[in-house]
Assembly symmetry: D2
């Protein structure tokens, strides 16, 4: 299982969470990555943790102001990027162009989507993985694997029907080891988390509890 | 073959073009539809021609200002709608929601896309049809069927790989009967046209010439 | 006082509301206009009521799909347009371009904004009027003139400081004659309404009650 | 005169340009700042040069993915931010919210706009400065001060009419000391540059030539 922690724009210390994630990953062997804001990519990468961008822009080098170029994200230490998170929904053509940008620089890619139909569409664009996150469950603490297990199963099926080399992750409300286990049972190869770790009083303990069942 | 004429925001008389299209469709038996601006839907529908919207909004009845509700388009006489035209690119989640809106009111749907990957993605959302239009050829007068026949063939394959009940149209630069024939030979079930008819001095003659090989 | 009723995408009969508004305007001498969806402009205009668009696109005649051209809105019978409603927020450059489009075709213009600073900015672009509508009050039934009278006074001051030829309207929660009166006392030259009329069981009665104090 | 160099997404070495800018600023006493991509803010700030963001998001701490929080830009070393660059045009309400975000964290602000009307609108929102950049001149090498001096004069007047505490900069095509001088003569308090420095073979020499007339 791959555990990707999206720090969003939370008021956490990204280096503290990254350091904790790196330690837990090293001690348990579970793959854990941290996705901070673009401004924090280099500081997070310096902790040694696997570092992901939250987004890269659908452009090449050139006259673009306020963008996050895939090359710049990679130079700052990112090895992958989320795309089309429900808090940053993209045009279909821009998901395609951002994937092209990410591939150009060797970034691994996860395209988020809200439901199985959109997961099928995302898979057709050829990312490394897709992630299903029902927007109504994000930040609720109610795990998608319990609230709506069918959406995870259907997402796995939708992706497989289009391209079975595309992995499926799930997110929304994941915070415990039990949730992680349940996600795996439904066919997910990983999970997206955010507040459960980023807002935890002790992020390291939160991560240890989380990965305990699969460590 | 289905011939859909997108009037865009051209300074043509939409009722004149619609009347011509209706007459040519009646006399030749070729299915021809007209897609005017939202403001012109009812006037175009009154000519008797098959009438399409250029876009419907990804919303339901409610507090939305400046939208084109699918229900309102249908009430005005539309029987179908384009979505995600390259001049009106939508977020992936909004294509999905606009398709839901169109289906709710019985509108037929064509989702446009730029290339075979995006065509596969569009097909995964379950529209009635998809249309491949390489943006760089739109308005050039160079037909996609001649300039880039592979993009049409690949689009047909990409859609079929995802859902073989989804028809494929092609567009960009189509203006003659020969172009229409070539599109059919490449596997397209129809074409999108715009300036070739809307900007013609005599739209009726332009349409007659166009459909002559298949009439 | 100018009373502009925005029908949004409500499930009302736009012709019924327009007919009622026309009758009440004729019988009371109060200026009342109706802003339906683009698809309904011509049907509403045919009732004889003053008809406004909810939005016009920041473009000229040309290759634009899914737009509402100012010329097309005017042809359908609109004499004015709202711009930048909080449900249809525009880029600053596009408000400017939509104003240019509206002026080109003789449409009267009202630019909406959320607060006095934005009202000053909108006034600097030279519309006929601006309208302050705190988004948090829209659709609440609590009139802005009671919930936050200072926002109306400050908006009037902000517009006057930039260009005192620009009228100020207010909106959000307006539904009674008392609200209308209070808006006038705060310096507003008109009001925007929506659900109070569009969702009323008897729109004519709702309008009569509304304008009674100023008729 | 304030010289702000926007590195956009150019394939330059941001640290090299920043180091050169810092040295030229120190040796000449001219205020020079560098605006790199968000990912590069901390590396640029470490050179000691005055560092600006190209954009900050119109949000507070919270559930926002792919944003550039003002707090995060400030933590990375930024002391100011551009907003609404013509390559990153924002909604009016979002310029207002991004200004609020920037002020919250002490970032200095420059709001870009295309023409004098929009400059007046931008000034009404209360930024520290506005910058007029006719989009058609960006990247041309033809300085706005020569191609269209009236747009600079009119922008200075438009800002002063709304709020005379707001400085005016100009941009587009600026690359020589003569251009800088001409901008000052037209009333500008500074200039935005990009390709003239970022794409120069020797950025230090380019900056030295640029500021020579005012050093």
């Amino acid at each position: 299982m791959f555990v990707l922690v999206n720090l969003k724009a939370y008021p956490c210390d990204p280096v503290e969470v990254a350091t904790a994630a790196h330690e837990v990953s090293e001690s348990t062997g579970v793959r854990i990555a941290i996705a901070p804001q673009a401004t924090q990519l280099s500081a997070v990468a310096e902790t040694g943790v696997e570092t992901w961008a939250q987004h890269v822009s659908p452009v090449e080098h050139g006259s673009h102001t306020g963008s996050t170029l895939a090359e710049a994200a990679a130079d700052a230490g990112a090895v992958g990027t989320l795309l089309n998170h429900s808090e940053n929904r993209l045009k279909l053509a821009d998901i395609d162009a951002s994937l092209t940008a990410a591939e150009r620089t060797g970034l691994e890619t996860i395209v988020c989507a809200n439901n199985p139909d959109q997961i099928g569409a995302a898979a057709a664009l050829g990312p490394d993985a897709v992630a299903v996150e029902p927007p109504e469950l994000i930040g609720t603490g109610t795990p998608v694997s319990k609230a709506d297990p069918d959406v995870v199963r259907d997402a796995v099926d939708a992706a497989a029907a289009v391209d079975d080399s595309v992995d499926v992750l799930c997110g929304a409300g994941i915070s415990t080891g039990e949730d992680l286990d349940a996600a795996g049972d439904l066919g997910a190869e990983g999970v997206l988390l955010a507040s459960g770790v980023a807002k935890a009083e002790d992020p390291k303990e939160a991560l240890e509890d989380l990965v305990e069942p699969i460590a």
